[in-house]
């Protein structure tokens, strides 16, 4: 029912100056997809360089620049903003029965902060040749101070944008819920956005302190302290990306199992637990810099983090019990998220254990660990969300068969690209080195092949969705028979979201709608 298309203003200016959260979200989606392409391309080049044990494509400096571009673009411009800025902005008001975000123009402003931040990061990378890795550890990270300053300025813009988004979400959740919707009636995805926004508000402030130390030349401070400050933010930032991904996975499982969550409160508490623990578990990034006692202490919040994730995972599996399960593409992406998250967390438990962490820290094992979480996990959740809410956002259905055909190589590619990297780490190969002992070549060849399969699958998925914009059948308001207020309005929704103000009955999540 895309009849509402005519209710929207037309023209480029109406998009660029929109105060409609749905249009802001679509602007974000377009920009973020471009960044995923750029960062992914840099990743493929890194993998091609590593096909042979000797230098091949680029020299050491070129290699340092390549993986810096890959990491910075994908972490700062994809992983952290992807789900909140697109699906958060689009769905948060719809899911709580609101007509808009609390601060509509602020939402548009966050998009321009993103564009400005992205431009600065890209200029710093391309023109300035930043080669410090996405971690930008001082002082070697400051070897090209001007371009690093441009990148840090870009990150500051992104941080401000993220802070504004978080404040907008928090205000909207507190002030704009539909009548009858209490905090404990909110869908899991809304809870995940709420938890992650609270973390963002706290962590961004510390990030600002860290940036000030570097940017204002107060960097004479102790490197040890600065490493801690840096990871306090970066660790929380990465987990603020995982909590919304967990929220997405919850929605996918509820919708396609056509069931209530086995335990709603366990799910909500697990999100809060992940968010809270992410604020105190940064220390496991700096194990090798500190003492045994630090390692033991920082292991404790890491345990809480892993436990929270385990509670969520067990609740997801338990939710399938007694369900009416349709194994559609979005659900399979959701389960792929659970799959990679499992191995990401299991390896994280190893990294948080003193002796093993000392072996793996700084090797490819760490690369495998966080790619399981952000590439395998977070990217899968993003794709699941994209397919699940695509009919709602565009008013079109995509081809289920072709979507599955694209999903298969994405899953296989992720497995091939990242699981061999655990073994590279076991073998002791350091990160960020274009050369390596010849015995490790087979593992790199498998991983490179995986990156190509993954890229082919992503291109296929993009083709399926873009094709659906043109040839897809019109989408019903609730094509999946899912619960949730976003399905109680047309696809796409009218500018004011709902024809008449919706009312949420208690325990909304338990009222799965059946067509």
């Amino acid at each position: 029912m895309s009849g509402y298309g005519s209710a929207y203003p037309r023209g480029v200016a109406s998009w660029l100056l929109t105060d409609d959260h749905k249009r802001v979200a679509i602007l974000f989606l377009a920009a973020i997809a471009v960044m995923l392409g750029l960062g992914g391309l840099a990743g493929i080049l890194v993998r091609i360089e590593l096909l042979t044990p000797a230098k091949a494509l680029v020299d050491e400096h070129g290699y340092n620049r390549l993986f810096t571009a890959h990491g910075l673009i994908l972490v700062a411009l994809f992983v952290v903003p992807a789900i909140p800025a697109t699906f958060g902005n689009y769905l948060l008001p719809l899911m709580i029965g609101a007509r808009r975000l609390a601060f509509p123009r602020l939402a548009l402003g966050t998009f321009y902060l993103y564009v400005g931040g992205a431009a600065a990061v890209l200029v710093g990378l391309v023109r300035g040749g930043v080669d410090s890795g996405w971690t930008i550890y001082p002082p070697s990270g400051e070897s090209s101070p001007d371009s690093v300053a441009i990148v840090l300025g870009g990150l500051a813009l992104l941080g401000v944008g993220w802070l504004a988004t978080a404040a907008n979400f928090i205000a909207t959740i507190h002030r704009h819920r539909a009548p009858g919707m209490g905090f404990l009636d909110m869908p899991p995805f809304v809870w995940s956005l709420y938890a992650t926004s609270l973390v963002a508000v706290v962590a961004t402030l510390v990030f600002a302190v860290g940036l000030a130390l570097v940017g204002l030349g107060l960097g004479g401070g102790d490197l040890f302290v600065r490493l801690h400050l840096r990871w306090f933010y970066a660790h929380a930032a990465v987990y603020t990306a995982i909590v919304p991904a967990a929220g997405v996975a919850s929605e996918l499982i509820l919708a396609f199992a056509r069931k209530n969550a086995l335990s709603y409160r366990a799910l909500v508490l697990s999100f809060v637990g992940i968010a809270a623990a992410s604020l105190v578990s940064w220390g496991h990034h700096v194990f090798a810099a500190g003492s045994t006692r630090d390692a033991a202490l920082f292991g404790i919040p890491s345990l809480l983090l892993a436990t929270s994730l385990a509670v969520a995972a067990l609740t997801w599996a338990g939710t399938l019990y007694g369900g009416s399960i349709a194994p559609r593409t979005p659900l399979l992406y959701g389960l792929a998220f659970v799959f990679f998250l499992f191995f990401g967390v299991a390896s994280g438990v190893g990294l948080a254990a003193g002796g093993l962490g000392a072996q793996w820290h700084g090797t490819w094992f760490v690369v495998a660990h966080f790619h399981c979480i952000v590439a395998g996990g977070m990217l899968s959740a993003f794709l699941g969300a994209l397919h699940f809410w695509f009919p709602k956002m565009t008013g079109r259905m995509y081809s289920e068969r072709f979507a599955l055909l694209a999903a298969a190589p994405i899953f296989v590619g992720l497995c091939l690209a990242f699981f061999p990297e655990f073994l590279l780490g076991n073998a002791g190969m350091p990160r960020r080195s274009p050369t390596y002992p010849a015995a490790l070549e087979p593992l790199h060849v498998i991983a490179a092949a995986g990156s190509w399969v993954l890229a082919a699958g992503l291109a296929g998925a993009l083709g399926v969705l873009v094709g659906a914009l043109r040839w897809g059948a019109p989408a019903e308001p609730n094509p999946w028979g899912a619960g949730g207020l976003e399905w109680a309005t047309s696809s796409p929704p009218p500018p004011e979201n709902f024809e008449k103000e919706p009312r949420a009955a208690g325990e909304l999540r338990d009222l799965s709608r059946v067509p």
């Binding site: 340092n64 890795g133 366990a266 090798a288 254990a353 050369t435």
Partner: protein, 331 residues
């Protein structure tokens, strides 16, 4: 069984008691992960099959977990994780606390060299010489930026921070050589900041302390000895023998050539210039290169200096000698 697990996991042969302790923990985590994954994803697969949707109009169902199940969902993983954490802490104490009879070696990282200082005042670059079967405590620090000192064979890794000294330790089971890597990005030369631990049998170590080891193998001619010194002293990390550009100029065809310098008039590359460049490398820097090479004054013997010069002379042009070192003296 240990060997099979090691091969399966691509672990370098564990060559120290610490490595065995860590590998036990590794095997425990690996097996626990596999068992948990089989149970968890097996359950998901079974539920997907058992509760597969039969018709589009199948109604939604409502099932709420009892409190006991919710508690179990939290308690079971927490118990497993706490148990593993306890095991990890007890093992890491074994790994990180050096025994009292350990000998001390100071490890200094700088762009892009590992230097080792021994109690008797001696020092080496790139190559850490230790006795086998004797605990060695490493005092790790950096002179410039963050570095990471790692010896995979011993499962040892310690970040090197400027202005701080951290300790770690290992004990080599057997005489042999074990690769050293830098595991923290430290600039352009990060990937060439490698070295090796040379663990010597106690008798050999005593001879090394007296300055008589490692003796060049007698069957080698001078140029081949030079190639071996080049590898063991780390020259090959920056200077290729193949014409490939590294951190420093290639040795191929260098001898007898006129060399353009960063500063000052051109210089003929002869025995004198090569020796000066080893002992005082920042004075006459070849055009296009940075003065990042450490001085080898006092670190290599006169005989080794001559051997290196002879090796460079052997690379004058055609007839590059076949490599004697596994993998060749190439970066």
């Amino acid at each position: 069984v240990d060997d099979i697990v090691s091969r399966l996991l691509w672990l370098p042969g564990g060559a120290s008691p610490g490595a065995r302790a860590v590998d036990g923990l590794h095997a425990a985590l690996f097996l626990a992960t596999l068992v948990a994954a089989a149970l968890f994803f097996g359950a998901i697969a079974a539920l997907m099959l058992r509760y597969r949707r039969e018709g589009e109009d199948e109604p939604a169902r409502r099932i709420v977990a009892p409190l006991a199940l919710e508690v179990a969902f939290a308690a079971a993983p927490l118990a497993a994780l706490v148990a593993f954490w306890g095991l990890g802490v007890s093992r890491s104490a074994a790994v990180l606390g050096a025994p009292a009879d350990a000998i001390d070696v100071t490890v200094v990282g700088r762009q892009w060299t590992w230097s080792f200082s021994y109690a008797d005042g001696r020092s080496t670059d790139f190559r850490l010489v230790v006795p086998a079967r004797r605990p060695v405590r490493l005092l790790v620090t950096s002179r410039d930026v963050l570095h990471g000192f790692a010896v995979p064979a011993f499962r040892v890794q310690q970040d090197a921070l400027p202005g701080r000294t951290a300790t770690t330790w290992f004990e080599a089971d057997r005489a042999g050589t074990y690769p050293i890597f830098c595991t923290e990005l430290c600039g352009t030369g990060h990937s060439s900041m490698r070295g090796e631990v040379l663990a010597l049998a106690p008798a050999d170590y005593a001879r090394w302390l007296e300055g008589r080891l490692p003796p060049p193998a007698p069957e080698l001619d001078l140029a081949r000895q030079g190639e071996r010194v080049m590898v063991t002293q780390g020259c090959a990390r920056c200077h290729s023998s193949t014409g490939e550009r590294g951190q420093g100029p290639t040795f191929l065809g260098l001898y007898g050539k006129m060399v353009k310098l960063e500063r000052g008039p051109d210089v003929l590359c002869d025995e004198g210039y090569i020796t000066e460049s080893m002992m005082d490398p920042t004075v006459k820097v070849v055009q296009g290169f940075t003065p990042s090479m450490p001085s080898y004054q006092g670190k290599i013997s006169a005989g080794e200096t001559v051997a290196i010069i002879e090796y460079i002379k052997s690379l004058r042009g055609a007839g590059v000698p076949e490599s004697i070192v596994p993998g060749g003296a190439r970066p």
